[in-house]
């Protein structure tokens, strides 16, 4: 079985969770009514998409451009305290309630994913080299890089889940 190195890179993740909770109303729930209507009208048989927006998924997203300065500050300071370079140009917080999910998909660009919650039941499934797929259980602070073209998804979660997606990906040595 392919082993996935564990990099618990982000300390102080509880501060990001708390700040995100304070701004919970800013998260956009997907699918939005417009996305649901479009999907219902022209629903095609399920075909794992190569490119997608969150319209296929069920989760709540707070992208960088809608994140208030105070929350951006908490994220930046948490990264600094963890000695992680803040060289990313965009990020998004993604919140899941029980039953929420991300369909299997892949993207053109790489990204860093940080778990902000821990769970023995939920996690990220990601493709690795040679057709391998691995399941990475959620552990707060954990950092995973998803490369372009790598399939990845989140099965319907059983517990509330919060992640931070950062692009471009960060180079964090395993420690």
């Amino acid at each position: 079985m392919t082993k996935v190195p564990v990099t618990i890179a982000l300390r102080g993740h509880a501060k990001i969770r708390a700040a995100a909770q304070q701004h919970a109303s800013l998260f956009v729930r997907h699918p939005t009514p417009q996305e649901a209507a479009r999907s219902a009208a022209g629903r095609l048989p399920f075909r794992p998409p190569s490119h997608y927006g969150y319209a296929w998924d069920r989760c709540a997203v707070l992208p960088y451009e809608h994140t208030p300065a105070s929350l951006r500050g908490v994220i930046a300071r948490t990264f600094e305290e963890s000695e992680i370079p803040t060289s990313f140009s965009r990020f998004a917080l993604v919140r899941y309630e029980p039953g929420d999910y991300l369909f299997p998909h892949r993207e053109d660009t790489a990204s860093s994913l940080f778990s902000l919650t821990s769970s023995t039941e939920d996690g990220l499934i990601v493709q690795r080299e040679g057709g391998e797929f691995v399941r990475i259980p959620d552990r707060a602070g954990r950092h995973v890089v998803v490369s372009p073209g790598q399939w990845h998804w989140v099965d319907p979660v059983r517990r509330p889940r919060l992640t931070l997606m950062v692009s471009p990906p960060l180079e964090i040595p395993p420690g």
């Binding site: 079985m1 629903r43 399920f46 039941e121 797929f133 691995v134 399941r135 319907p156």
Partner: protein, 159 residues
């Protein structure tokens, strides 16, 4: 222990002891091969076959049992998103032959589970011995990489 639990235990015991009887499971999802093992009901000894027959729900008047397998998804193994009826069903043969449904019955409690997609929303199925999932021709199904012990299930398809 209930009779059904005893039958599942019989199948689990046989599967764990006779993995050489299992072949690498066919099929692909997301452009990659699945990673699981399967054994046809035809290779099962009398006692295990009897256990299968006792567990398989009786066919309706207008359908018949087309195939039976035992599946093992080992630790680290997976079944990628696929349509099981199309993936594992027998070839459709001539016009008028209609695939009915495929049933997957979990043989052992575990931390893992399958995901079933029908009508647009996926559902994570419980991983409890005896739990049955019926998938139809337009259903999608996958088993994400197994973290716990090997995942054993009984699979049968009705035609």
């Amino acid at each position: 222990m209930s009779t059904e639990a005893q039958h599942f235990r019989e199948l689990r015991t046989w599967a764990k002891r006779h993995q050489p009887h299992f072949e690498r499971g066919p099929g692909h999802g997301l452009g990659c091969p699945h990673r699981y093992l399967r054994a046809s009901g035809d290779v099962l000894p009398t006692s295990a076959r009897a256990a299968c027959e006792a567990l398989i729900d009786p066919a309706s008047a207008d359908s018949e049992l087309a195939a039976v397998w035992l599946h093992i998804v080992p630790t680290g193994g997976f079944i990628l998103p696929c349509q099981p009826v199309l993936e594992w069903g027998p070839s459709t043969g001539g016009p008028g032959e209609r695939l009915e449904e495929l049933v997957l019955a979990v043989a052992v409690d575990g931390p893992d589970g399958a995901t079933h997609l029908l009508s647009g929303s996926p559902r994570r199925e419980p991983e409890q011995a005896g739990h049955r999932l019926t998938v139809h021709s337009d259903s999608w199904y996958w088993v994400s990489p197994v973290l716990g012990p090997e995942r054993i299930s009984l699979v049968w398809i009705m035609r």
